[in-house]
């Protein structure tokens, strides 16, 4: 997996209610040079945090505790112009919500795979198509291209 080269300190938001995988993911992404916002697991928290400091990409788990679902959060983040990648074992649900996110990376993921996926998606959002798509990452091309066009 090519190590992603984060351009100018990109900021990431992680919405995941399993704290340990979330921490492992945060540490890996920080090591890769990204700024990772405080971990969130609820709808309100995530949207509030995203308003305060517009992340470049949000990593959202679909199944969250309580009434929240990652799909609702993704919809709201999309409305704010923040691209979302689903990080969920619920692959079929991710696919039915393919208009709300730019990609899906199924669990169980290794954190290195996820870091590579984040690098790839940020590059694509910046219009850079030179990187190879990491194994396991499913890209929702229509949404990704729409987000990339909006970012430019």
């Amino acid at each position: 997996m090519p190590s992603p080269i984060p351009a100018a300190q990109k900021t990431l938001l992680i919405v995941e209610d399993e704290i340990l995988p979330a921490m492992a993911l945060r540490d890996e992404l920080q090591d890769a040079g990204y700024v990772v916002m405080d971990l969130t697991k609820r709808h309100g928290e995530a949207i509030g945090a995203a308003k305060d400091c517009k992340p470049d990409l949000a990593l959202v788990n679909i199944k969250l505790q309580g009434q929240d679902t990652g799909i609702d959060i993704a919809r709201d983040l999309k409305a704010m112009g923040i691209p979302v990648v689903f990080i969920s074992g619920q692959v079929s649900r991710a696919q039915t919500a393919r208009t709300d996110a730019i990609a899906s990376f199924p669990k169980p993921y290794s954190t290195k795979q996820m870091a590579a996926a984040v690098g790839y998606l940020l590059a694509r959002l910046a219009g850079d198509t030179s990187l190879e798509r990491p194994d396991g990452l499913e890209v929702f091309e229509d949404e990704l291209e729409a987000s990339a066009a909006a970012a430019v």
Binding site: P21, P108, T111, Q113
Partner: protein
Amino acid sequence: MPTSTPTPVEAGALDLARAIVTSSPVPLLLLDGDLCIVAASASFSEAFSVDTKSAPGQPLASLGGGGEWGLPKIRSLLTATLSGAADIKAYECELVRAGQPTRCLVLSAQRVAYLDLAHTRVLLAVADITEARANELLKDEAQRRNLVLLQEVRHRVANSLQIIASVLLQNARKTTSEETRGHLTDAHQRVMSVATLERQLSGSGEQDVELQAYLTTLCESISASMIQDPKHLVLSVTGSRGEVPAVVSISLGLIATELIINALKHAFVDGRPGAIKVSWTSEGSNWTMSVTDNGVGMPRAAGARAGLGTSIVEALAKQLGAAINVSSAAPGTCVAITHPAIRLVSRPEQPSDFSVVERPAA
């Protein structure tokens, strides 16, 4: 109705037939050529709440009083059978009666000719399958619900394993000892190999696993976590399609994980580029999984590589009843795990890298 007087032989046969029909535990009717009742079993009377005592001599259509047995479908079935034009073993129809629930019936009609063709009769067996049908539906529903539960459980198992894997990984990051970090990273990978399988199972609902797909996902995960530059060190999967039971694939996944970790640690010591190939071939219940590297090759001294990984591979192979064969791949090493469930005597020589493996003593 034929008017000729039956011979004593015919009369005797008819009496016997009446007695058999009347005592049949399966609802049974014996009808004459005009579809009038000759005999009806007590079980018929009980199953369809009709009085069969006074039935003999009555037309079938008058049974039950509501004309429910006079359906054109039943009449044409019987007429066709009587004429010998049809031989119907199971004819499904619905019995609709006023004020009672509709029953689902299976009719089988058999033409009975004895000596004189003028006395052709038809035997009609009636099975009520309404309950069996309902039970089948219930069973299907229960089965579907079980499948949903099973998938949910597997989903949760995969999530739990991912949590454990995360803890091990965090542990590896925080430790200052290079050796400990290595052990923890290996442990993380072992957990991930089982998590990957559970995830694959949670999506399919099947008990069997398409092994090559699993090995491919597994190798993607290993490659991402353990190989710095996947262009420098290529990990690939080849082989045939084929399914194995879930329990077998867990073992095979763990064996592959160990062999790959082993090759990564020992085969490319001086930072040389290379490739590790995982291969899976199966033929019926015979299969071989091999991991081949093109690294530095095996050390001469036996047991030089013995470690946790080796003992895991040996234990799991033994559990599977499979043999381990380590050979030189010139350059590099090939480790093949072979399960010869059935020995094929006249099996043609396979174009494989590894030599024939002896079946282990049980």
